[in-house]
């Protein structure tokens, strides 16, 4: 989990727990006009085009919509290879892209319950990002 001194990959993506037992949360935005929820945050609602958004914390559990194991290293990524990436559907509506962690690749299944964790991308770097891992039965 997150230790002191770790820095987020970008500002405004997620909360970092400060107390023991506290869960990290993704920070989204919700349109006050039509109710659509976005992650990452949008300034203007892409559905009704109104500039009336409020920040909202998203559930830290979702369902794995799909996943892939990436074997060829893409630009700017310096984490371990191969790695698992997926789409996670959150109950508030958005389906978001995320790294997957916390299990063997063979254990990943579509529609399984997954939960949010904060983890480093590269072991030697203190930068942390959000990832999802299968919920332990």
């Amino acid at each position: 989990m997150v230790e002191q001194g770790m820095k987020p990959i970008a500002e405004g993506l997620f909360t970092i727990p400060s107390l023991p037992g506290e869960q990290p949360r993704l920070i989204g935005s919700k349109c006050r006009n039509c109710g659509r929820v976005y992650f990452p945050k949008e300034v203007v609602c892409n559905a009704c085009f109104q500039e009336d958004m409020e920040e909202t914390l998203l559930s830290n559990r979702g369902k794995l919509y799909s996943f892939t194991i990436i074997h060829q290293k893409p630009m700017a990524y310096s984490g371990p290879m191969p790695y698992a990436m997926g789409l996670v559907s959150l109950p508030e509506g958005p389906t978001i892209m995320s790294l997957l962690t916390g299990c063997d690749f063979e254990k990943l299944e579509l529609d399984m319950d997954v939960e949010l964790v904060l983890e480093k991308i590269v072991e030697e770097d203190e930068t942390v990002t959000y990832k999802f891992r299968p919920v332990q039965a």
Partner: protein, 381 residues
């Protein structure tokens, strides 16, 4: 709106050409199109030029400039994969509305090699984009791997069916001397090629290619000065920006490009059953199946079935990507949309040689980009 005809087409071979510059490749396509149209260069009233990877200011002026500059407007555009089809739509719009009588659309490309990333440059939300890239999200084949796995669960499609798309398009490319890759391959060859993003293997990704293609559009009345035989009518030229709220929307089911397709059918007064041949955007095997549904060739979830039944092969009910598609003809990004036009026109004229689809009268070209952007063009003989 005036009736617009496709007066001439030109293409350079697709492949890699270390001894030719982009101006050489582009000029070849333009000169071939002029000759095919029977029009003189000085009679072209506007030119729309597209390229994706060069980032050279006014590249169109450089390419046309090697023939000579005549004072006409040269418009440089970029719209990801649908760049060249965007040039076609712009030329079509300009002629249809009466702004010009004869316009040239040309795309030329020497695509950068290697795994493509969806994001580059400054000026966009670079912090957000870099954060995404550092997390390993900047990997386009990965998007289609996600689509494949979801389709396999929802619709029962198999890895063999995805591989069959690549096998079919290569079989077509085997009959196209202009294609980048022409050697036939088997489902095993495709599945045993290097794993890129499980389940996407190397031969399920289009190559990064070089090439150029051109089209000359003309109002029907003026076209009679240059040619006496039959003309292909441009029945639709649609460019739109599909709605996109979520990466999940449109990657596994018809949705995004359906908007452009429906608009194009409507504009032409035709339906999917009236179309004889299709060139569609197949950068990855999953894309081709998704687009069968976007173009209403079948119901959502039935794409694998119509592929397996052979409906989309040459000899089938509605042959798709008869020149090999992006997967085998190749993907010179800023030119690809016009290669589709060249292939459709050769088919409609009955000049497609060994890969000729007998009696083809209506052809549809579709391109999609990230984007999002989409073009759908319908040609009618």
């Amino acid at each position: 709106m005036r009736e617009v005809v496709l007066l001439g087409i030109g293409q350079h071979k697709v492949g890699r050409f270390p001894d030719e510059t982009i101006t050489d490749i582009g000029r070849t396509a333009i000169l071939e199109a002029l000759k095919d149209a029977g029009i003189e260069y000085k009679d072209i009233q506007a030119a729309y030029f597209t390229n994706r990877d060069e980032r050279t200011p006014c590249l169109g002026q450089h390419v046309l400039g090697t023939i000579g500059l005549t004072g006409i407007p040269i418009i440089n555009a970029e719209n990801a994969s649908p760049s060249a089809s965007t040039a076609f739509v712009m030329a079509y719009d300009a002629v249809a509305t009466g702004q010009y009588d004869a316009a040239l659309a040309v795309g030329a490309e020497k695509t950068a090699r290697g795994l493509r990333v969806p994001v580059v440059g400054v000026g966009v939300n670079i912090n957000r984009m870099m954060a995404m890239a550092k997390q390993g999200f900047a990997v386009i084949p990965g998007m289609f791997a996600l689509a494949m796995r979801r389709r396999m669960k929802d619709f029962g499609e198999t890895v063999e069916q995805f591989a069959q798309v690549a096998v079919k398009n290569r079989k077509h490319a085997h009959l196209n001397p202009y294609a980048h890759y022409q050697d036939v391959m088997t489902i095993e060859d495709v599945l045993n090629s290097r794993l890129i993003c499980d389940p996407v293997t190397l031969f399920q990704c289009c190559p990064t290619s070089e090439g150029a293609a051109a089209a000359i559009l003309c109002s029907k009345d003026v076209a009679k000065r240059y040619k006496s035989d039959g003309f292909t009518i441009v029945a639709s030229g649609v460019l739109n920006t599909p709605v996109s709220w979520s990466p999940a929307l449109g990657i596994t089911t018809a949705g995004l490009d359906k908007m452009a397709a429906d608009e194009a059918y409507n504009m032409a007064g035709l339906g999917p059953k009236d179309v004889d041949i299709i060139e569609l955007h197949d950068p990855f095997t999953a894309s081709e199946l998704i687009h069968y549904e976007d173009l209403s060739l079948c119901e959502v979830g039935e794409a694998g079935k119509i592929l397996s039944e052979g409906k989309t092969e040459i000899g089938g009910e509605i042959p798709v990507n008869t020149d090999g598609g992006l997967l085998s003809r190749g993907h010179p990004i800023g030119a690809t949309g016009l290669y589709q036009i060249v292939e459709l026109e050769l088919q409609l004229r009955g000049q497609a040689g060994q890969r000729q689809v007998e009696g083809a009268k209506v052809g549809l070209g579709h391109m999609e980009g990230l984007g999002p952007c989409a073009t759908v063009i319908i040609l009618k003989r």
